[in-house]
Symmetry: C2
Subunit: 230 residues, 2 copies
Amino acid sequence: MTSRPIPEASVARLPVYLRALVDMAERGTHTVSSEALAAAAGVNSAKIRKDLSYLGSYGTRGVGYDVEYLIHQISRELGLTQDWAVTIVGLGNLGLALANYGGFAERGFRVAALLDVDDRKVGRQLVGLEVAHFDDVERVVKEEEISIAVLAVPGHVAQDVCDRLVAAGITSVLNFAPTVLQVPPGVSLRKVDLSIELQILSFYEQRKVAEESVRHGTARRRLEQVDPGA
Amino acid sequence: MTSRPIPEASVARLPVYLRALVDMAERGTHTVSSEALAAAAGVNSAKIRKDLSYLGSYGTRGVGYDVEYLIHQISRELGLTQDWAVTIVGLGNLGLALANYGGFAERGFRVAALLDVDDRKVGRQLVGLEVAHFDDVERVVKEEEISIAVLAVPGHVAQDVCDRLVAAGITSVLNFAPTVLQVPPGVSLRKVDLSIELQILSFYEQRKVAEESVRHGTARRRLEQVDPGA
DNA sequence: TCCTGTGAATTCGTTCACAGCC
DNA sequence: GGCTGTGAACGAATTCACAGGA
């Protein structure tokens, strides 16, 4: 019913299921089992069933889930039945790439404003929008009823820019800047960080190299303190 | 002290700590407590101490951690004391932005090859590198000893491209394509997905709106300032 | 028979709280 | 007195395993 607190981890997977379901619908599939959806989403079937059970009992025992119906339910749960106005802040390499990226409109995210502080960029036309000066953030956020900001500014100004966005009424921030941001309670924050991801990969990559050399008896002691006893 | 299986969740935080520590070092800080590092990294101090304890006992009771020493230890643990050769595959908007992004070299990730299938792009000079044709992936990966691939290709070809990368010897993939990829065991995979992140934000954003109306749209939270307007 | 929905069991991750050392 | 390092307690997330409906 109304009082179900869907676990964060489940929420984060719903978009993945949704995408898999949309693909299936496009290929003409009408019904899907938890097993099949699990395969498409790269998880196991128990997880699918648990996650979907948080939304309600939308499956049919012995049959599976109706693809279209499930798409509708997940979309609704994620708030994708309404349009969200988004602003992209910072139009460097990454901001420009994001602005040109088609993926926003795809599912109800409308880029409603582009903001930058650089006078050479302000006033320019980009993907059908005129770049506004960041000083106008308050007015723009209000006029366009923007609730989500995509931050693509240099790290050293990110916290300041974020504070001003929040002051202007933004309640969700997707941060691409390589900085840990602090936001007040009530404001949602997610981050996307290329170099953190690479460093995580590096960790596991190094492990592989280490294991490899152990297997080949060429282990170097420099990086791994091998457990001496027991 | 026994050979440590560092939990995944801890590994994912080490790069955040590292960045905070590097910032501190640049500002001339020599010693840091778990409390101070926690504040900078946006976590709590118990987590810092636990995470760091997986690496060893690098702190001093009553004092804290030596910043430089900790930077060194974390870097070593993450495998950042060596250089990793990276290839960027797919030079559309995003791939280009990534190629131009300075963040790679920052910490030992050298962009060693740019790959695409588009003949108009192959042969061009970009950030000091000649774009190679993806058909040469095998040769390029071997010659440059590349272990990490950054995938920025359209979703519908991502799995195929990924398979060929793995066949060519790639053992880590950072996927920017909006697709769930399957990789064989032994290959690490991480994904960065703009629209999934937006959808997660949408979920919580919707919750806020719902709560707001439950409160009759009157009760405003502290720093939040919502203008009904329209 | 088949496949969902879900309690129970388990694993993983976080936080507490304090002993131990500086 | 201050702060780390870590068992123990707690909580979240995952997986198991099976009852029950189509």
